[in-house]
Symmetry: C2
């Protein structure tokens, strides 16, 4: 069918199963790492820095480390106390920068208030910056040069590509302008496919907290793809979605149900939107697992780049 | 009037006179430089590098240098032959980087085909990068950190601000996604005003060559501001413009009239759009002169930054 899957209107949306896709990607990475080590290379090595004892951060990092280890990445977390100085954190990062046995360095955000997030992100060697937060990598992404793309943004792009959702000349509404998610997604979606880091050639409408709700609705109603990354529960409702559109939910909010249970929900009114959309990601099980897989992808990329002399890259 | 000038619908558009505005800004800069030198500082110093003998590039650089000199900036052009190697260009740039009497360095683009534009832009000391093309300054702009904003993008922003065109929560269509113009304009327009380099809080629709014409029209018809930076003559027509909207024309194309004369025209069908728009920039005499003024602004900023010890910045 010439117009592709998202152009027809099914009775209920195709579920874009991020968990399943992430599993496939992890299997691919695992295989690639096996080939890599069989050639005599050491395993890719990832080090996470976790500052303080925020429970959510701890859970996230653990999840990433267990998953990375499972595909063959040597993964470990360095725990630092919350009262550590910025200088001590940066010294620790510099030590990892110098360590030729380390390929990827990830500092779990947020950092404590007395520490500059920007200084910490810029301390990571750009070649080991698997989160893509170093200023040089942000510049490279903006210019569509080969770089480390922030994992959540890369997860969305990979999900779109692997689900064969068309983007060329399509209308895409991105809700949320955060520097680590909404903005890099917009940068990748709008840009030219002929660049070193290929763009997706879509027209992008970048909406945010100051987009009036009635205006947001006007934009989403004509969107071929809606990507919501705001943390506003229930922002995207069924009547705002064009029949057959693709809806990607990057929001993850922990809520308490009337029955007193905690539950993860996204920005999209899933059950209702599912009846209108052509394709939709669930929360949980959509973008989340893909994000973890992208961290592994970036770590393997870092390992291969670092093992290759610059003149051969 | 609470809604400001652009919300009412005049019989004909207010002309945003970039030439006049640029003159005002240059007068301000001249005064600031006088105060600066009276305090015992040397004049700000700008060096342009012009490679080869492209007539248009030569004219542009000359114009910039004459204007800069007129406000008190020590301005000079370094002419290099078109067969010069990339290494020789970069050596020349490094020499200027090291020269404590030079504040701003500008490499006139395009560079010859055998030279990497990116390598040349990245060779300029980011603190002297008055064009804002260094990868670190691109990263800083993307993250809304204080930086050198590319002159044309800054010209558009300054024009909007000084004309008191409102942007908060407004719909802005940007046509053209070039890394030096359309994209930085979009980055500045969509982002948060509370940042170090304040954003304009607008909803931004970024359109380009692959936005279908009928779709572009749907977007422009509801836009409060249309900014066109494509070089496509006559792209923006009267029926595409919402009555009262502000239209900013960044395009400059040299055409030959039926009478055989050459003439500069923009992307906008000026005479017709003027009857519908609330405010409009002419071509020439709109964004162009403002761009030259922004180069001086950036040069003075570089001079002041370089004269201030880092701990006092």
């Amino acid at each position: 069918m010439e117009n592709g899957a998202i152009d027809c209107v099914p009775a209920t949306a195709r579920i874009l199963d991020g968990k399943q896709l992430a599993k496939e990607i992890q299997d691919e990475i695992k295989e690639e790492i096996t080939l890599w080590t069989e050639k005599g290379n050491r395993r890719p090595c990832l080090r996470a820095i976790l500052i303080g004892d925020d429970a959510a951060s701890k859970t996230y990092v653990e999840k990433k480390m267990i998953a990375s280890e499972s595909v063959g990445i040597d993964s470990d977390t360095i725990n630092l106390p919350s009262d550590i100085t910025e200088k001590e954190i940066i010294d620790k990062i510099r030590q990892l920068n110098k360590d030729s046995n380390v390929d990827g360095i990830l500092v779990q955000l947020p950092v404590p208030e007395h520490v500059s997030e920007r200084n910490v992100c810029n301390a990571v060697d750009p070649r080991k910056d698997v989160d893509g937060f170093h200023i040089i990598n942000v510049g490279r992404l903006t210019l569509n040069m080969d770089t480390f793309i922030p994992c959540t943004a890369l997860a969305v792009i990979e999900l779109i590509k692997r689900s064969e959702i068309k983007t060329f000349g399509k209308n895409i509404v991105v809700c949320g302008r955060s520097k680590n998610v909404g903005l890099p997604i917009s940068l990748l979606l709008h840009s030219d496919a002929r660049n070193e880091c290929p763009g997706m050639e879509a027209t992008v409408v970048l909406c945010h907290r100051h987009t009036p709700p009635e205006q947001l609705e006007i934009y989403t109603k004509t969107a071929d793809i809606i990507i919501s990354a705001t943390g506003v529960v229930g922002l995207i409702k069924a009547h705002m979605v064009k029949p057959g559109a693709c809806v990607i939910d990057v929001g993850i909010t922990r809520i308490t149900t009337p029955a007193g249970k905690t539950k993860l929900v996204g920005d999209v009114e899933y059950e209702n939107v599912k009846k209108v959309a052509g394709a939709i990601t669930p929360v949980p099980g959509g973008v989340g697992p893909m994000t973890v897989a992208m961290l592994m992808k970036n770590t393997l990329k870092a390992a291969k780049n670092l093992a290759t002399p610059p003149e051969q890259q």
